[in-house]
């Protein structure tokens, strides 16, 4: 049985259908994969300026918008200087 239980209280990366990347601590979820993220930040990727982190706080994301949820290795993540990362933002998904 696939479940999100193992991610609870861990910092995760969420990719949304519109291409947004949000990191936050998974505070909870439900049967429809709706997800509660605390202390969340959006990571805005750009080729010119490096990654900008926008604080969002407590977020409730609807499950049908979620493309991917992955656990973050916090130690590795903190060792990365986001301002040095240059990347195209993800495009929204295409139907």
């Amino acid at each position: 049985m696939a479940t999100l239980q193992g991610y609870v209280d861990h910092r995760v990366l969420l990719i949304l259908q519109d291409g947004r990347a949000i990191v936050g601590v998974m505070a909870g979820y439900d049967q429809k994969s709706n997800v509660v993220l605390s202390d969340s930040k959006e990571r805005v990727y750009s080729v010119e300026d490096g990654v900008e982190e926008i604080p969002l706080g407590l977020y409730l994301v609807k499950g049908d918008q979620i493309v991917l949820i992955g656990e973050l290795d916090e130690a590795l993540d903190q060792s990365i200087d986001l301002s040095t990362i240059r990347a195209e933002p993800l495009p929204p998904i295409r139907y």
């Binding site: 609870v8 407590l58 977020y59």
Partner: protein, 150 residues
């Protein structure tokens, strides 16, 4: 294996309130300010009046902005169908409030169950309970096998 499974379930139940259901959070957000973004990119800023299990919501004193963020409207009250929502942003303080409420509910449930367990000790003598008690003397509907097994 079944034993291990049972133990795992018990421990996860014991720690259950660590996780907050999205709908519990939403219910606790009543009368609180929130930002709602729809799938089409429009956003609605307002106070939550009511919500249901589909995440249909009503907001009051709403500032609506279009997807580009260059135009906005003031709306006294509006209803948003849950299926059109992309995400909701709610006050940070809400998570702790919900967790505290869950802990209170759990403590209340625990003490209620505790009273029950001590009552169950009397079961054999004075208090015929569902199942076993009814079998005694009364017409029974195939209840005996189960009664003995327990």
């Amino acid at each position: 294996m079944s034993e291990g499974h049972g133990a795992a379930r018990e421990s996860s139940l014991g720690e259950w309130p660590r996780s907050t259901l999205p709908l519990s959070l939403l219910n606790a957000a009543q009368n609180k300010p929130m930002l709602v973004e729809l799938k089409n990119g429009e956003t609605f800023n307002g106070h939550l009046v009511n919500c249901d299990n589909f995440m249909n919501i009503t907001l009051r004193e709403v500032y609506q902005t279009n997807a580009e963020g260059d135009r906005f409207w003031k709306v006294k009250e509006c209803y948003i169908r849950g299926s059109t929502i992309k995400y909701l942003r709610v006050p940070d303080t809400l998570l702790d409030a919900v967790k505290e409420e869950q802990n209170r509910a759990r403590e209340a449930g625990r003490s209620a169950r505790g009273a029950h367990v001590s009552g169950a000790g009397n079961r054999g003598r004075g208090m015929p309970q569902r199942g076993r008690g009814a079998v005694r003397g009364g017409p029974m509907r195939g209840g005996r096998g189960r009664g003995r097994g327990m």
